[in-house]
């Protein structure tokens, strides 16, 4: 089977259990088993090639530019690990099928499990280290899901997060390390990297890369000081613990170190770091394991300890060490998986894993007892069991290793570690199975069905077979070792046998076993001493670190993201000022190129007005209506300034917009407080004034800078001046630019207006359909109202003036192309005319008599403008291409017809619609329950009097008489 398939099968198969969930538990487990089996068989199909020393390859490009390709390879090492993963996987699946409770979602469980399995296989088969990284991180994720699988278990969630955090951290470090490694080697393919030992070790980036990679490996493999997450992960269902946290995932770190052994090992840094970490982990893990009462915790720490052992072996950097490591991996996988499953059986049956509540199970669960005992003795290093063999090799290697210049250090620590190891093994056996049968088990235990005990039994058979006949494993281990060593070293000649003679390792081993047994015997006082000894507990420390990090993050983030817009704005202004100052200050400033134009008194007068009005506005802004008046003055003077500087269109637009804006603001102010409270303190005001003044100085300086210089090349508007009549058919260049040269801007601009109106309308609707509605309807006005809402004089004047204003609007519209004016201003003027009518007789009365669908007006405007633009497509021209012609219809003079004018109609309609829709919205908000819709255009009208009751009849009569 292709390597792709071997990796892909678990992933593809992961879909199945989830889908089969409804088909029943058996089906779920069955399909998962089958999927794994397919992959396993696929792997085995490559065995002949592997045994023949070939490296099976499969390559496909994924991200070649990045050097990230799906390059897989299968050599002995990869095969070894893949076989472990898939083989143990098969057993675990069978075991899990019986283990999981009825309420557990099996589909979910097996989906995660298969995802994990696929990722794990991916790690070991990857030839590309970036690809390996992907699988690496996926195992962390799958592990996260599996540890947290029992979502009701608090420890599960916490353990999952801790595992994710620690291995995630390692994973990210690994990313950095591997990227550096690839950078040094010039490729991310392992096959290339492994050939670059000299280059890598000579590189100045070697040490950072090594540290980062080791951080990844140590966290993943729970090496000291990152060992603490693993026992917490034991909250997972036992199959998960057995599979991930014993047999496979934790070995990913080991695998990585083995894989990169040829290029990374052999340096002092590698030796010191790896060996030390391994040794310490071995000793500390074993010590902690000894005093754990939870069977799985005990096994977990024992795993930590054994991983330390393997790490230490890899750290020595010798070929023999590497070989011993590989052998121990094999052995550890067999006995530890069996132990986990046994512990799971005990837990499953006795409903507790607390060793203090157990004991005497030997009689109740004989099968389990046998399996567990053999596995545990192997772990303790008892001869004729495989654990003994690799431990011997380890001790032998330890004997030869000199760390920190002390030849005794490593052997002593190795022996101590082995001693503790033996002790907890004896305790595991003794406290669980020996002793009297108790009557207070949480549940009455007995041997389970074969589904649960057969998988560990198979493993135990292996334990014995290898233990008795190590030569059976020898070629395979050597094959694997050869692949670990690569070109860096030769596979050692040593034989795998039970009896090596009276070598120091044997004595160390004896010391360990005997000492271990003695410790087991005096366990009770030791436990008391242990309990009395203060020692750091990882969980609260970890929690503390996380809580501290969260608190730190909150302390940093929350205060500056607290919703204080005013500060956000201040920061932004300061950032802009700072950046602008920097940019200007670091540039070249030349001499001015233009003459300053002399000031005229009028200009100075106008200038003084703007300054004064602005100053008064700023000082008195808290009186809101007054502020509006002042801003009106500023706008008026700015408009006058535009006139002064030859921009009549601008002046008109500015002023019209000004008035409409003030009207809108007045409409809004009707609902708002009329005064701004005096809230900000003097300091704050000084600060803000300071920022404002700096900003003002900057704006002055910048504009003065530009005003006194010419553009680096002639402005493009020369073209517009030259062609506005020739090409645009108008003499008002500004208007021609607006509707023709840059008509697209204008198109966007009217859309902005249209959206503004739609938005205002939509918000009004929303407000009026929510809780605000009642409040608005029953609103108590905050000011006294004068009588006579619609005074006669205004009404009568409007009747005459409004049509005239409309006509002026029309006039402005028509003239726009050639003289100041145009669709936009015309639209505003027409709106103003209607506003006048609203103000005269009220919105209700006015709109009841003439109701335009303002939505429609906006829509029509935008559509007309857009369709005018599209119209040019039909003559094969781009959007908004204008054309014009001169027409003469008697009795009128010749006049110009330009498509741009049609576009201007669109502008006009959109403006009118937008302004009117906005006003309508405000008016609807202002409606109160106590308001009566007026049926008359004016409140007071003596013409409506009943002639008979006219109080002035007397007077009139009297006057007629005198006349």
């Amino acid at each position: 089977m292709s390597l792709f398939l071997i990796v892909a099968v678990p992933f593809l198969g992961a879909l199945l259990p989830g889908l089969m969930n409804s088909a029943g538990r058996k089906a779920c487990a069955g399909v998962t088993f089958m999927v794994t089996l397919v992959a396993f068989v696929g792997l085995l199909s490559q065995l002949p090639a592997v045994l023949a020393g070939e490296v099976v390859q499969a390559r496909v490009e994924w991200l070649p530019a990045l050097g990230l390709n799906v390059n897989l390879h299968l050599d002995g090492l990869a095969f070894f690990f893949a076989a472990l993963i898939l083989g143990i996987g098969l057993l675990i699946i069978a075991y899990a099928r019986s283990y999981l409770a009825r309420g557990d979602n099996m589909g979910e469980f097996f989906t995660y499990l298969l995802l994990f399995q696929g990722a794990m296989v991916g790690i070991v088969l990857s030839d590309n280290i970036l690809l390996l990284l992907i699988f690496w991180e996926m195992t962390s994720l799958a592990s996260f899901l599996l540890i947290g699988y029992w979502k009701h278990v608090v420890e599960g969630r916490q353990g999952a997060r801790m595992a994710l955090t620690v291995t995630g951290m390692g994973g990210l470090a690994l990313i950095g390390g591997l990227l550096i490694l690839g950078q040094i080697a010039g490729s991310y393919d392992l096959s290339v990297i492994l050939e670059n030992r000299e280059a890598i070790q000579a590189s100045p980036l070697y040490v950072p890369a090594l540290l980062l990679i080791l951080l990844g490996c140590f966290t993943k493999s729970a090496q000291f000081p990152f060992h603490f997450w693993l026992p917490r992960a034991m909250a997972a269902p036992t199959p998960v613990s057995a599979y991930l946290h014993s047999a496979t995932m934790v070995k990913a770190g080991i695998f990585m170190m083995a894989r990169l052994w040829p290029v990374l090992s052999g340096t002092t840094e590698w030796f010191v770091i790896v060996t030390t970490a391994g040794l310490l982990t071995m000793v500390i893990g074993a010590l902690i394991a000894l005093f754990k009462h939870d069977l799985k915790a005990l096994l977990a720490y024992s795993t930590v300890s054994h991983l330390g052992l393997i790490t230490m072996l890899l750290g020595t950097g010798t070929a023999f060490g590497a070989m011993a490591a590989m052998f121990h991996i094999l052995n550890h996988a067999t006995f530890k998986a069996a132990l986990f499953m046994s512990a799971g059986i005990v837990d499953h049956e006795a409903k507790t894993r607390d060793i203090r509540l157990l004991g005497g199970l030997r009689k109740l669960m004989p099968i389990t007892f046998v399996i567990a005992t053999i596995a545990a003795l192997s772990m303790a290093g008892i001869p004729f069991l495989n654990g003994f063999l690799s431990k011997e090799q380890m001790l032998e290697e330890a004997n030869r290793t000199v760390l920190f210049g002390a030849p005794w250090l490593v052997p002593v620590l190795a022996t101590v570690g082995s001693l503790f190891s033996a002790a907890y093994c004896f305790r595991f056996i003794g406290h669980t199975f020996f002793g009297p049968v108790r009557d207070d088990y949480p549940a009455k235990p007995h041997d389970p069905g074969a589904g649960l005990w057969l998988p560990p039994a198979i493993l135990v058979v292996l334990v014995i077979v290898i233990g008795v006949a190590p030569f059976l494993a020898e070629p395979f281990v050597k094959l694997v070792t050869a692949d670990v060593l690569g070109a860096a070293a030769e596979v050692p000649k040593a034989y795998f046998k039970i009896w090596h003679g009276l070598v120091p390792a044997l004595f160390m081993s004896i010391i360990a076993v005997v000492g271990g047994f003695l410790m087991y015997l005096v366990f009770a006082p030791l436990l008391r001493a242990w309990d009395a000894t203060p020692r750091p507990d990882a969980k609260p420390m970890f929690d503390g670190v996380i809580a501290g990090a969260v608190a730190l993050a909150r302390g940093l983030i929350a205060p500056i993201h607290d919703g204080a817009f005013t500060r956000y704005a201040a920061v932004m202004v300061l950032a802009v000022l700072g950046a602008g100052y920097y940019a200007f200050g670091t540039g070249v400033v030349g001499a001015t190129a233009r003459e300053m134009q002399p000031m005229t008194p009028i200009a100075v007068g106008g200038w003084a007005m703007v300054i004064a009005a602005t100053a008064v506005l700023v000082v008195m802004h808290r009186y809101r209506l007054f502020a509006l008046v002042m801003i009106g003055i500023v706008g008026l003077m700015v408009s006058a300034g535009f006139v002064f500087f030859s921009a009549p269109d601008l002046a008109m637009t500015q002023f019209t917009v000004e008035v409409v804006t003030i009207i809108l603001l007045l409409l809004a102010l009707n609902f708002l407080p009329k005064r701004t409270p005096d809230e900000s303190g003097a300091l704050r005001r000084i600060r803000d004034a300071g920022i404002g003044i700096i900003g003002g100085i900057a704006a002055t300086a910048l504009s003065f800078h530009y005003l006194m210089r010419d553009a680096i090349e002639g402005p493009i508007s020369a073209f517009h001046v030259a062609n506005s009549y020739k090409g645009g058919g108008g003499t008002n260049m500004v208007n021609v630019i607006l509707v023709d040269f840059r008509g697209f801007d204008t198109y966007g601009e009217i859309i902005v207006l249209g959206i503004a109106a739609l938005l205002i309308y939509a918000l009004t609707e929303t407000l009026l359909s929510g809780p605000v509605r009642a409040r608005l309807l029953n609103r108590k006005p905050d000011q006294a109202f004068a009588g006579d809402a619609h005074p006669m004089m205004m009404v009568v004047l409007t009747r005459v003036i409004m049509p005239i204003v409309l006509m002026v609007g029309f006039y402005i519209f028509l003239r726009g192309h050639n003289e100041p004016g145009g669709g936009f201003i015309a639209g505003l003027i027409v709106s103003i005319a209607v506003v006048m009518q609203y103000m005269a007789s009220g919105f209700g009365w006015t709109s009841a008599r003439l109701r335009y669908p303002y939505h429609g007006v906006i829509g029509a405007g935008v559509l007309v403008a857009g369709l005018t633009g599209i119209g040019s497509w039909f003559v094969g021209k781009p959007f908004l291409t204008s054309d014009f012609t001169y027409v003469r219809i008697p009795p009128f003079q010749e006049f110009e017809l330009a498509t741009a004018a049609l576009f201007d109609v669109g502008v006009f309609l959109a403006v009118v619609g937008a302004v009117m829709l906005s006003l309508e919205s405000f008016s609807r908000l202002a409606r109160r329950v106590d308001m009566v819709e007026s049926e008359h255009p004016m409140e007071i009208n003596p013409a409506r009097d009943d002639p008979a009751e006219d109080p002035l009849n007397e007077l009139r009569k009297a006057r007629t008489e005198t006349a």
Partner: protein, 513 residues
């Protein structure tokens, strides 16, 4: 004369008023028209991208006026890619909006949505700086409408800040444009590039530098670069979910503009702009990455968490942009595609999570129907966003890191991005396990009437997820496209000559007047 290039702008611009006029009271017609438009836009985007994929630069002279005198739309690899991305995002987000019923919770959703797209697409396509301003305004004002869609006090308060901040931004934009016109006498980007690069050595540069720096600040605000990012968290958190999801592209508009303008017009290596953006964009981007990650960890609400993830991911984009190298920009573009989708997915998932919950605070609530699927999607989105394998976020991050090797600040780039990733992972892990896992310890509320979100809502999220997966699987192809795009950006001769040498009405090539 083909008009394809302008259709992405004009189609929604015509569809919106049409919806307002003709289908104002017919929701189903609005929906059908809206979706149809999105499908058409996807097709258009794909077509344009295919057309430009060989390096062709498409030009559309509005009003038949040649650049720089008139406004032109320019389609190159970059702009068409952004058009397609926007269209795809908008399609699925729209499906979600319909499926979740968000479009019925206020008026004119569909019209505003169309206008929003018009603005975004116009911003991507225009070749004129002032026109870019206009499209910014179109997209902003539509976004105001969408942001406060459905109302509510919190949303309106956030809306006020959002609008005000952007008004300040628009003001700054105008200051920048005034500076640019005053200094160079032109507004067309290509013309500007020629004029800027034609500066004699030793010529006066102070004014030009200010113009360049003001402009990049405008774009940085849009791109939520720290410390100009303050507008983002509350506005995105309070915006209706589909809107927030659509907004995922809006920050990219800022990034796009930075890429466009600061590779072609104001490249970092010319004398006039030396030290202007090269010096501080990258450090600030790194700070953004960190601030975003810390915000993820600090968040007490799920929606706030996602907004900080957006800040962090924008930071990553800008880190890559800030290298101003060809590999850097290629990485930035890929990461931009990714983070747009990832952010959108997360915003939608957060909304799905809201189903049956009274709060988005990171506290435990009873599980509701559909929670498992939602949780799965959250997990997916979180993996994508934090840059964990195997999704595109990881690939994008690797690209950014690889590009970072050549930088003097490589150590910083590596440490900040990697450590921030870890912090994000922790933050997402905390939040996800609290919200989705812990729910299982609470008894489901039998009174709860919350039903599972509709299939269509899931389809919207699922569609985005599918696109993200495609982005992962075809990462090689996509990346070679972004590399080609980056190469095109760093060799803008074709762009410049197509824009400036195509004759228009009354003008010879190179502007005979």
């Amino acid at each position: 004369m083909t008009h394809w290039l302008i259709v992405p702008v004009v189609l929604p611009a015509l569809m919106a008023p049409f919806i307002v006029l003709a289908a104002r009271y017919h929701l189903s017609i609005q929906r059908v028209m809206s979706v149809a438009t999105m499908l058409a836009l996807v097709a258009l985007g794909a077509g344009l991208m295919w057309q430009t994929s060989d390096g062709t630069v498409l030009l559309y002279q509005l009003g038949d006026w040649a650049a720089p005198f008139g406004i032109v739309l320019v389609g190159d690899r970059l702009s068409t890619m952004m058009v397609l991305l926007t269209a795809i995002l908008a399609l699925f987000v729209l499906i979600y909006a319909i499926g979740s019923g968000w479009d019925t919770r206020g008026r004119h959703f569909h019209a505003l949505y169309q206008f929003q797209l018009m603005g975004i697409l116009g911003a991507f396509l225009t070749g004129d700086l002032f026109n870019l301003f206009v499209f910014f305004e179109v997209l902003l004002i539509a976004s105001y409408g969408l942001m406060i869609h459905a109302g509510g006090n919190e949303r309106l308060k956030a809306g006020v800040q959002y609008v005000l901040f952007n008004l300040l931004g628009s003001t700054l934009f105008l200051f920048a444009l005034g500076s640019i016109y005053a200094e160079t006498g032109t507004l067309n980007m290509a013309d500007l590039a020629i004029r800027v690069q034609g500066l004699e050595p030793g010529a006066e540069t102070a004014g030009l530098r200010v113009a360049a720096v003001l402009l990049i600040l405008v774009f940085a605000i849009k791109a939520a670069l720290v410390p100009l990012h303050f507008w983002l968290p509350s506005s995105y958190a309070e915006a209706p979910a589909p809107v927030a999801a659509l907004f995922a592209i809006m920050t990219k508009v800022g990034a796009y503009a930075i890429i466009r303008v600061y590779t072609m017009v104001f490249p970092a290596e010319i004398e006039a702009t030396a030290g202007l953006h090269g010096t501080w964009l990258l450090p600030l981007a790194l700070v953004s990455v960190a601030v975003g990650a810390l915000g993820i960890l600090a968040a007490k609400k799920l929606d706030r968490l996602v907004t900080f993830a957006v800040i962090s991911s924008m930071g990553t984009v800008l880190v890559a942009v800030g290298m101003f190298s060809q590999v850097g920009i290629a990485a930035a573009l890929y990461y931009m595609l990714h983070s747009t989708l990832a952010a959108a997915i997360l915003f939608l998932v957060v909304d799905l999570t809201r189903h049956g919950r009274d709060t988005l605070q990171l506290i435990t609530r009873a599980p509701v129907a559909g929670a498992a699927l939602t949780a799965g999607l959250f997990f997916f989105g979180a993996i994508a966003m934090t840059g964990l394998p195997p999704l595109s976020g990881f690939l994008g991050k690797i690209m950014v890191l690889q590009a970072g090797f050549a930088q003097p600040a490589a150590v910083w780039i590596f440490s900040v991005i990697l450590i921030s990733s870890l912090v994000s992972v922790v933050g997402f892990g905390r939040a996800g396990s609290t919200v989705y896992w812990k729910a299982n310890i609470v008894e489901p509320d039998p009174e709860s009437e919350a039903t599972a979100p509709s299939v269509m809502a899931y389809a919207g999220v699922g569609g985005l997820a599918a696109v993200l997966i495609l982005l992962t699987v075809f990462a090689g192809q996509v990346h070679s496209y972004t590399q080609a795009t980056s190469a095109q950006l760093f060799a803008p001769n074709t762009y410049l000559s197509v824009v400036l040498e195509t004759p228009g009405k009354l003008s010879d090539p190179k502007g005979g007047e």
